[in-house]
Amino acid sequence: MLETLKQFSSPELSKTLLDKIFDIADRYKEKFGKEPALMEVCGSHTVAVAKTGVKKLLAGKVKLISGPGCPVCVTDQQSIDAMIELAEGENRIICSFGDMIRVPGTNRTLMSAKTDGKDIRIVYAPVDAVKIAKENPDKEVIFLGIGFETTIPVLGVALKVAHEENVSNFSMWVTTKLVEPILRKLLNEGEVHVDGFLLPGHVSIVLGKNQYHYLVDEYKVPGVICGFEPVQLLNGIYQTIELLLNETPDIINAHRHIVRDEGNLQAQQLMEKYFEPCAEAWRGIGIIENSGLDIREEYSHLNAKLRFPIKVNPPKKTKCRCGDVIRGMIKPEECSLFAKACTPTNPIGPCMVSGEGSCAASYQFMREE
């Protein structure tokens, strides 16, 4: 496995692929009179193309647009305010994924609530929060469950354990997102022009290749599922442009050693068993019907939204343009706050906070001077 991974970062192979992309991108431009515009859906891809220098090297040849695949960035401001409000309650332990604790709400962050003495803990696996609940029977333990299809099954595992072991002081505040509804919305509204997609390696492990055929059947837009190492990224970009050049839209699974056509059935069953579709609010985009999953009614005793109802005011309007960034409408640098009022030390919006955020990736990896 290690040998395979080494090949995926081989400089020689990467340089050969780069040359091939320059060549095919030129041919594409000759044929269609413009550079191909590819959207990397996944936040980890956004970071990888910035960090490896691929985005900079392809500038002027291939337009790489950052998509809406960072789970922290798409979390609605009102949800963040609600999570912080939730942490204010007495006798509670709030468990969260790392990135979330720095995301600013309207007035503060989970980190500042922690500094003020609230018990907020970072966990890597949601099931660890169930363990914390068992160890603290006199406290209410609430896990903040955000994420795409990659993360939803592991949220399901935590619900399964809490339900089967009858952990009565555990609940989950869920605000999850699904890939298909947001891609459909982007394509239907056409605000940003996308010729092809670099499809997410992690999400596809759960969903499988077959799930993406609507892109080809309904929108005639090709996509390539690829991994995160330079060779995988460059190969994904090359194959997508090749499909575009030949005008043969298709879905290619270039991550076959990990992604199966049908996906991970066990993970899908967990999602099906514990969650049901719901309308979700996306930051800067608004509510999209059936774009998220919430805890099924039969497990409502584990639903923190029902156990601890919270009402928050609509957020104050700021100049933060994270909503436009996640839709691929603007580059992070085009936001007037970027690298001035908004930096990783003092973030205004979640795209600057998250390790997978477009703004953070641009700030950390794209600035030279």
Binding site: P11, S44, P71, Y124, S354, E368
Partner: protein
């Protein structure tokens, strides 16, 4: 003697005396310097280097060391990288009521061993005991005193072309600690690199008088340390991604968590900036020392970009490296 630290161990009475005699004096030896309220030191120089640091690490015991070893190493290295020879050290302990005395003994033994290896004498100390919950087990402060030889004054003027050398693989301590915390589900056998660098530094300073500056890249890692050098001395440095020595398990853990090895802490690694013409000579002596076997040149001082650190990437482009902003947090996806 009781098994656990109690508040009475800090009240200056019989139990406190017992603790000092049985745990500290027996481990640190009773030097002539420490017979008065203040340690009287013989210092053969009028140029002293003094450094102090506090250690609050979690977990207290980790693969490759413990908080005591770290408290010696951290201060010895801060003195040594300044070009000074570390001679004496003071130690302050803040102990939580209930802390196990056997654990304290293990920590103190590690301190004594490490100080002996580094040829540093522990000449004064202090112990306070606080109520349960006031500290996390044990906090240690160490202050070190060293002397600077006339010919070893650092820093010297850094110039374009100077080489940047690292003494070994980066990020080992950071990943060992993350793994030892057990919170992230990481399982590696990786040990912390925690070690005193003063002997290695002696060898380097004997081999070359063209060393410009040295630093131990602890918190904030190699990147933050080099950014500070760039800013403080108004130079630009470019390091090469291809030449960074990183163990596969460190790379793997970083991939998984979304961390960057360049920002992970090291506790036994040395960064040396040396004139290009002495690069080979310095690398040769470093590789002969057990703490410098994997020493390698990772970059050089470049002409343009005063105050900035750059990373030359494998695929040919380069990007700027900034200080670590806040803490590195594990990613979600």
């Amino acid at each position: 003697m009781s098994e656990k630290i109690s508040l009475a161990h800090g009240d200056g009475g019989e139990l406190a005396h017992q603790l000092i005699q049985e745990v500290f004096v027996s481990a640190f030896e009773h030097h002539e310097h420490a017979r008065l309220d203040a340690a009287l030191l013989h210092v053969p120089s009028n140029k002293l280097a003094i450094s102090t640091d506090s250690f609050v690490i979690k977990p207290v015991f980790f693969p490759g060391g413990n908080i005591g070893k770290l408290a010696i190493v951290g201060t010895v290295n801060d003195i040594a990288v300044s070009g000074a020879e570390p001679l004496y050290m003071t130690v302050g302990f803040i102990l939580e009521e209930g802390f196990l005395i056997k654990d304290l003994k293990e920590i103190v033994t590690a301190m004594a061993e490490e100080a002996k290896k580094a040829n540093v004498k522990i000449v004064a100390g202090d112990t306070k005991v606080v109520e349960r919950g006031s500290v996390d087990g044990i906090f240690i402060n160490t202050t070190g005193v060293g002397v600077i030889k006339e010919e070893n004054f650092l820093p010297r003027k850094i110039k374009e072309g100077d080489s940047v050398i690292i003494s070994g693989t980066i990020g080992d301590h950071g990943v060992a600690i993350l793994s030892a915390r057990g919170e992230l589900g990481l399982l590696t056998d990786l040990e912390s690199d925690c070690a005193c660098l003063n002997r290695l530094i002696d060898d380097i300073m004997s081999a070359s008088n063209k060393v410009k500056i040295m630093r131990d890249p602890t918190r904030g890692g190699v990147a933050t340390t080099l950014v500070e050098i760039c800013e403080d001395f108004k130079v630009a440095i470019e390091i090469r991604e291809d030449d960074l020595p990183i163990k596969p398990e460190v790379e793997g853990a970083c991939d998984l968590l979304g961390f960057e090895p360049l920002y992970l802490a090291n506790e036994g690694k040395l960064l040396v900036i040396v004139a290009k013409e002495d690069e080979a000579k310095v690398l040769e002596v470093m590789k002969k020392h057990e703490l410098g076997i994997d020493a390698t040149s990772i970059g050089h001082v470049v002409e343009q970009g005063e105050g900035k650190l750059f990373l030359k990437m494998t695929l040919g482009s380069r990007r700027r490296l900034n200080r670590l902003s806040g803490i590195q947090l594990p990613r979600i996806c």
